[in-house]
């Protein structure tokens, strides 16, 4: 609890679930009077006013500010932060900044207090998610046996909120300090496989038609007709990238040069992207490009059976 006794606490990043949890934790601070505010539409003047008004009952105050990235951060707020003594903890301002980059005013506040980053896991960072599952389980007093984190990842993907929920269910089932086996997992897990448009595009580019269509079907189940445009855009981006890469490949450029040209890490390029590039030829990519132009116009029109058109395009890329 030592870190709580700083005048400023800043949590930021793109992982909404963890930021929500952080906000909830701050709002349940028992020893202090809690004032919860939303930065959307809140002026700096009003925020500073709240921070300068101590409760009548003599208790200390914690101001929990959600959506803090929407606060302007003018000289009024900056002045308040600069003037605040680090030992003065009568008021704690707890800012939840829902953006990957910390705005200047909260950067300043974090220097006088505590800062924690809750970034969204990258799409390829399965290892990071597994590490998070293990840490979360340890915090709940659970010991996960081998294979459990991987199964959870397979069924729930990168959905941190769902993963946290399943771990809490497991805690109820087995109790703190006990082992969680795959059998326990089967009893509680409600699988909700997730798919994103870029995953469909990657599978299509990799000519893995089963996976591509499976992901596409999951995506349509979740999003319905709203998936047409994102999938088309993702396919366009992927084909464009493949085209540039294949062009460089045909020009006999080195792997490092190609990776640099695409803005990719050389290892990732060599290991994952180059084998995909080698599966395509330039005339085919040009044909895919023409087909995607047509698809783009079709999905934005009132064309019938747009889903079929998207599926056919995905299939044609995988052939």
């Amino acid at each position: 609890m030592a870190d709580k006794t700083r005048p400023f606490r800043v949590a930021f990043g793109g992982e909404s679930f963890l930021l929500d949890r952080e906000g909830m934790k701050a709002r349940s601070w028992k020893e202090r009077q809690v004032v919860a505010l939303d930065g959307d539409g809140l002026s700096d003047y009003d925020l500073v006013g709240v921070c300068r008004t101590l409760p009548f009952d003599g208790r200390s105050l914690v101001v929990v500010l959600d959506n803090a990235q929407k606060v302007k951060g003018d000289k009024n707020l900056k002045g308040y932060i600069e003037a605040k003594d680090v030992t003065d903890t009568s008021v704690v301002l707890h800012a939840i900044v829902r953006s990957e980059k910390l705005p200047a005013v909260w950067e300043l506040a974090s220097k006088k207090g505590w800062v924690k980053e809750y970034s969204k896991f990258k799409g390829y960072d399965d290892a990071g998610v597994i590490a998070w599952i293990k840490k979360e389980a340890a915090d709940l007093g659970l010991r996960l046996t081998e294979g459990v984190p991987n199964i959870m990842l397979t069924f729930l993907g990168h959905n941190i909120g769902a993963l946290a929920g399943e771990l809490q269910k497991l805690q109820f089932l087995v109790g703190r300090g006990n082992d969680v086996t795959v059998e326990h997992l089967k009893l509680v897990l409600s699988p909700s496989p997730q798919a994103e448009a870029w995953q469909v595009a990657e599978a299509a580019a990799d000519k893995d038609f089963r996976r591509a269509l499976n992901l596409l079907s999951i995506l349509y189940r979740g999003e319905g007709g709203a998936a047409h445009v994102p999938v088309t855009s993702a396919l366009m981006r992927q084909v464009e990238k493949l085209m540039v890469a294949r062009h460089m490949f045909d020009a006999k450029m080195s792997e490092d040069e190609m990776a640099a040209g695409l803005g990719m890490h050389p290892y990732r390029f060599r290991k994952f992207f180059l084998p995909t590039v080698q599966k395509h030829r330039m005339p085919d990519l040009l044909r895919h490009m023409a087909r995607l132009c047509q698809l783009d116009a079709d999905v934005k029109s009132s064309a019938q059976s747009r889903r079929s058109l998207v599926e056919l395009t995905v299939l044609s890329i995988t052939q």
Partner: protein, 319 residues
């Protein structure tokens, strides 16, 4: 005053009849943007409203209010987000029912009759059918075919011509001494003084140079730079496509009809480019550019389509 409207004799003739009270039905002024349609309406309004000497620099209250755009008897409706909304037309209809405040008649100008929604057009029908005696209606549209027939049939149609290059040059010379630049911009504007002034004021030649560079990159087989350059002008792509159409047109003309070249300041570059592709390919590219420009309205993802256009031409060249 109407005497100041140049090169639109037919339009001025009709508007003068309106001013003289000999023609009171709604008039639809057809023509490209920037050829002087709105300017003529404002001049006609001034001629009707002026309570003093009927001169261009008259200082009567009516002329002053018109010049400031605050005259209570003049209402100009313009598109909001690309559409003339029904709310604006309803306001106009209500206003048309009342008598003029200070002028002898009320003038209503709908700048974008071809952008009226179906609801807007229907809301206006009755008023156009039987206009109040003290109201004059002017509808501006690019072409009559884009206006629904029921509106079109209730208006007298007046076609505005494109302005001569010489006239546009004479106007541009007042604000720019560089004769070559003035000539190029006058030709680029394709008879629209409004566009010419806009091009001159906003440095559009730089965008034209970027488009020329795209052609060079496609010939140099520099796919990665070509794609990133297209992404770099993403927001200006509709105008860039217009310039591309003009440039390809110039490439086709440069050898046999050099006097018809629009971008004569870069005629040398255009001549070199002409040698690098076949005439058939340039004609095909011209058709493709025109086709793409037609499709812009369907909200397609333009950068991808432009990339396809270039790569397609570039690929054709290689057979």
């Amino acid at each position: 005053m109407l005497d100041e409207v140049r090169e639109q004799d037919e339009g001025v003739y009709f508007l003068r009849r309106v001013v003289e009270g000999k023609y009171t039905s709604p008039i639809m002024l057809l023509g490209d943007e920037g050829v002087g349609r709105r300017y003529s309406v404002l001049q006609a309004a001034q001629e009707m409203f002026c309570s003093d000497e009927r001169a261009s620099r008259c200082s009567c209250a009516n002329c002053y209010q018109l010049a400031e755009g605050i005259h209570p008897d003049l209402m100009v409706v313009t598109p909001d987000n690309g559409e003339v909304k029904v709310a604006a037309i309803r306001d106009l209809v209500v206003s048309a029912r009342s008598y003029p405040t200070t002028a002898p008649v009320k003038v209503f100008c709908i700048d974008g009759a071809d952008k009226m929604t179906l609801a807007s057009a229907n809301a206006l029908l009755k008023t156009l059918e039987e206009p109040p005696p003290s109201a004059r209606f002017f509808l501006l549209a690019e072409t009559a075919s884009k206006v629904i027939p029921t509106i079109r049939s209730r208006c007298g149609l007046v076609q505005y011509r494109r302005l001569s290059t010489e006239f546009i040059k004479s106007v541009l010379r007042k604000s720019d001494d560089d004769d070559e630049r003035v000539s190029v911009i006058a030709r680029m504007s394709e008879g629209s003084l409004g566009l010419a002034v806009n091009y001159l004021g906003s440095g559009r030649l730089a965008l034209r140079d970027k488009v020329l560079n795209l052609l060079r990159l496609s010939f140099d087989e520099n796919l990665s730079s070509l794609f990133s350059s297209i992404d770099g002008i993403e927001k200006e792509l509709p105008l860039a496509l217009k310039f591309l159409e003009q440039l390809v047109h110039d490439v086709i003309l440069v050898r046999d009809h050099s006097s018809g070249v629009i971008h004569m300041d870069v005629a040398e570059d255009i001549g070199k480019m002409q040698e690098r592709g076949t005439q058939v390919n340039w004609h095909r590219m011209l058709d493709d550019v025109r086709d793409l420009r037609e499709r812009i309205r369907t909200r397609i993802f333009l950068p991808f389509h432009v990339k396809h256009l270039f790569i397609q031409t570039f690929w054709r060249r290689d057979g």
